[in-house]
């Protein structure tokens, strides 16, 4: 195997970065209708830069990847996956708070 060492510039994506919906479709393995429906459901925002050229914020990518996996693996529809991902995020947030409180209680 050939080994090549290169150094690349990386860029952190922020709220200000937008990704083409077509690229999101490929990364998250969702079709365009599903991406647009997810935006309509409020899972993430979207904008139409030119007629038919939809974009979504880059920061929504991790969330949309989970949506794609849940839809494929569990056989749930778009609105079900949207609800599931929001509940999973709420659950994780509560778990973080619970761990913090448990630590406080244990220290007392």
């Amino acid at each position: 195997m050939v080994r090549v060492t290169q150094v690349f510039e990386a860029r952190v994506l922020s709220e200000a970065d937008w990704i083409a919906a077509s690229e999101i479709c490929q990364l998250c393995r969702l079709d365009l209708d599903a991406v647009l429906e997810l935006a309509a459901l409020g899972v993430m925002s979207s904008r139409e830069r030119a007629p038919g050229e939809w974009q979504v914020p880059a920061t929504a990518l991790p969330r949309l990847r989970v949506v794609g996996r849940l839809m494929r693996d569990l056989g749930i529809n778009v609105s079900g996956a949207a609800l599931a991902v929001e509940l999973l995020e709420a659950q994780r947030e509560l778990e973080v708070r619970l761990r913090h409180l448990e630590r406080l209680v244990a220290d007392h």
Partner: protein, 326 residues
């Protein structure tokens, strides 16, 4: 190579109907899906289940698998029989490993995800698993996605990681060679949990003159032993003596950027939060550090200490449960 009993993995009889297999898979998938499950071996179990379902949901693959006979047990040493596959027409492993199992809206897509790495057993029977599988044919290379794990201190200071990426590349003579690229990625200070880093052109190589895909790295920050992270804010539980809380005190508090002096106001209570503005993760709008006070009582383990507590009992008109009694 070890034999895999796909029926056992899905917990169904060999005579199970397609519907029974689908229901068994869905039931197990709900339990072991890595995005949902808390089971420690969820990811490995889920991969096994996906592989088993990939075979048993497909009549051709299932019939071929059944031809191996029912005498095999999981874990037994296995080699495909010499006439393996004759009479069957496999479409090979689908790009993405999941074709035909799609929910409306979800597509099979690219096989670039670690969860799709089926076993050698599967590959020996049904092919696939090739790093060259799943070419798009549209010229441009696909984007890839990976996870990068860092500590909270690294998120604060910034860090660098060396990643080894392997990808097939077409040589001028048309042959394909697997090349290993070592990529050093600089993670800037102030990245937060779940944030994405893009390395332009480091995804899949292009075919037919298109541009290479990008590599997206999703940042995961390990839980810290002292600090709790929420967005850019960090919280630290900080022990104080009763007299420090009651009378006020200047104390040295650890922060991600190093120790700082902080004033505890007189009359502070256990659980009270004090804010150190801008001492959380850096960024355009830097996060804050919250210092949550925890009053620690000195032990009454000497006559002198006991005497002080007795004096407090006698001289202080204090009932910690007074508000509860109302």
């Amino acid at each position: 190579m070890e034999f895999r009993d796909y029926y056992k993995i899905l917990g169904v009889e060999r005579s199970a109907s397609a519907d029974q297999i689908k229901i068994a898979y869905r039931r197990l998938a709900r339990k072991y899906h890595p995005d949902v499950s808390k089971e420690p071996d969820a990811e490995a179990r889920f991969k096994e289940m996906q592989e088993a379902y990939e075979v048993l949901r497909d009549p051709e693959k299932r019939a071929a698998y059944d031809q191996l006979g029912s005498e095999w047990k999981s874990g037994q040493s296995f080699h495909p029989p010499p006439d393996w596959g004759s009479g069957f027409e496999f479409s090979g492993r689908p790009a993405g490993g999941r074709a035909g199992r799609r929910q409306a809206g979800a597509t099979a897509g690219a096989g670039t995800h670690p969860e799709e790495d089926f076993s050698d057993f599967f590959s020996s029977l049904f092919g696939g698993g090739s790093p060259f599988a799943g070419a798009t044919g549209r010229g441009g290379g696909r984007d890839h996605h990976a996870r990068i794990d860092i500590t909270l201190e690294e998120a604060y200071r910034g860090t660098s990681r060396t990643l080894e990426l392997r990808r097939p590349e077409v040589k001028p003579d048309g042959s394909v060679e697997l090349r290993s690229h070592t990529v050093r990625v600089t993670v800037p200070a102030g990245v937060t949990e779940g944030q994405l880093i893009r390395l332009a052109g480091q995804g899949e190589s292009a075919t037919g003159g298109g541009s290479a895909g990008d590599l997206y790295l999703e940042v995961h920050i390990h839980p810290h032993r002292s600090f709790t992270l929420e967005n850019r804010d960090v919280t630290l539980t900080f022990p104080v003596a009763p007299w420090e809380a009651a009378l006020g005190a200047s104390v040295t508090v650890p922060t991600l950027g190093g120790p700082v002096e902080m004033r505890i106001p007189a009359g502070a209570q256990s659980g009270q939060k004090l804010r150190l503005r801008g001492r959380g993760l850096p960024g355009q709008a830097p996060g804050d550090q919250y210092v949550q006070l925890k009053v620690v009582l000195p032990p009454a383990d000497s006559p002198e200490a006991k005497g002080i507590y007795e004096q407090m009992r006698a001289k202080l008109n204090f009932d910690p449960r007074a508000s509860e009694a109302r």
